[in-house]
Amino acid sequence: MSDFTPNEMMTIAAARALKNDDVCFVGIGAPSAACNVARLTHAPDITLIYESGTIGTRPDVLPLSIGDGELCETALTTVAVPEMFRYWLMGGRISIGFLGAAQLDRFGNINTTVIGDYKNPKVRLPGGGGAPEIASSCGEVFITLKQAPRAMVERIDFFTSFGHGEGGDHRQRLGITTKGPTLLITDLAIWRPDPETKEFTVRSLHRGVTRDRVEATCGWKVRFADALDETPEPTDLELTTLRELQARTKAAHEGGGRS
């Protein structure tokens, strides 16, 4: 395969983790690209749900917002937002929820709320949106993130959403019955929680990535699996699909500007 960027590898690795019968709660950005690449390649029947209420969308271009008209126009049906959160998310009908993070810890706990103290924040971030309940109601949670020491931290400043807490059976102790974060896909590697401790462990390095580079871009002491794989590089189909999707998206959004 020709050259590809770390971001492309991240998106395509995330796409591969999705199955044809998955029902995904899709966020904007990398998750949206990953879900739609999956739909346009190996998972044509995957159900994509955006929290704006659109169920079973098949957008031709990626939305800029969670509620673009394209999502509604290509959806099987569009429901009200309270129904989305009650019947579809809380009702336990979503198999995969995607989350991004401003800060992530080794147990998949996420902060997108504040940097610094909540009452007197250094940076006020957007906040959780649907994340607190996505993290607890979806069957599993996939996290995508560009590695950086200030993003992958020893201790997050705020628990926007709960991953595995302090690890181990912390979720069960809180009465949460879903699996929580089962996959972390970064621009450098694929991580999965240790079955016992729930600490994210590197299972696969993307092509050309070294252990050192993973360690240098992560704020906690990285654990590597004993048998470390190399992530299969993007296929022609995957890369072409992603790039064409992004090209269509760019053209559409620029075309949609003011006259």
């Binding site: 929290e51 800029l64 709320t113 959780g128 649907g130 607190p132 959004h253």
Partner: protein, 282 residues
């Protein structure tokens, strides 16, 4: 009973200093024209209620109208942060604001509870999350059947809700379609409801029976403002002005640039400019 009014009169008669007000619309149909009218009238000390404060509240907060914001996601969708809201929270500029923060699920269900006349929404949520520790309005109730502890938040009961909709009938019934968001709930939860619409049609004959329609007797005032959701969009009328959302990041990054933009594009114009803003977006 719905009265057809100019936007200026609709805002003046229904929104008062110190009110709790929701301008709702989930990405789609955001009532920007109504918010601009509130800004022009300088109605201040408002408690602003909205799932996604978005540009519409970034502008109101930046103009100093808000004393409190109740919300669940304070971002510029697909672009980044809300810089005026950040400036208010981080630096108290142009005034300090109080924030009450929820999850989307809680906000949506709090509107739903308000529409249902209930004092609270009960749901499964916030498990392990940090918000209950910083928001005293997040409490719990215990299920008397299973013993499970569930989250509880107070119902939203705004003094006024503003929404933008596609159509009103001559009688004042209102149709919302496409991504319907929380508009029906936000309207029914409010003491007073003001709707801006793209157009008025004689009646709603021939529509599918199960569409989202607010009867005229649930609405206080209707103002016809074509393009009134811009830079948000109106399904069937015009598309989202993505470029304006991208531009906002720069405008809002600087206090003076923001003030100049608001003067030129809000304070010194009227609601009629919205029609021209969506000309190229059809």
């Amino acid at each position: 009973m719905a009265k057809f009014l100019s936007l200026a009169d609709a805002v003046r008669q229904n929104l008062h200093t110190g009110d709790t007000v929701a301008f709702e619309g989930f990405t789609h149909l955001i009532p920007h024209a109504a918010a601009h009218e509130a800004i022009r009238q300088g109605i201040a000390d408002l408690t602003l209620l909205r799932m996604t404060p978005d540009i519409v509240y970034d502008q109101m907060i930046g103009m100093g109208l808000a004393k409190k914001v109740i919300f669940s996601y304070a971002g510029n969708p697909g672009v980044g942060l809300l810089r005026r809201m950040r400036d208010a929270i981080e630096n108290g500029y142009p005034r300090a604001i109080e924030t009450v923060e929820h999850s989307h699920s809680a906000m949506a269900q709090a509107y739903e509870a308000g529409a249902s006349g209930l004092p609270l929404a009960v749901f499964r949520g916030y498990k392990g999350a940090g918000l209950p520790a910083v928001n005293p309005d997040i409490r719990t109730v215990t299920c008397p059947f299973t013993g499970e502890e569930l989250a509880a938040v107070p119902a939203h009961r705004p003094d006024v809700t503003f929404i933008h909709a596609q159509k009103a009938s001559a009688k004042g019934d209102v149709l919302v379609e496409g991504i319907v968001g929380v508009q029906k709930e936000a309207a029914l939860a409010a003491k007073r409801v003001v709707v801006t619409v793209e157009e008025v049609v004689p009646d709603f004959k021939g529509l599918h029976p199960n569409l989202c329609i607010l009867p005229h007797w649930t609405i206080d005032a209707i103002a016809v403002v074509p393009g009134g959701a811009h830079p948000s969009y109106a399904h069937g009328y015009y598309v989202r002005d993505n470029a304006a959302y991208l531009d906002w990041d720069g405008i809002s990054a600087d206090r003076d640039a923001f003030a100049a933009w608001m003067k030129a594009n809000v304070l010194e114009v009227g609601p009629e400019v919205f029609a021209s803003r969506v000309e190229g977006l059809k």
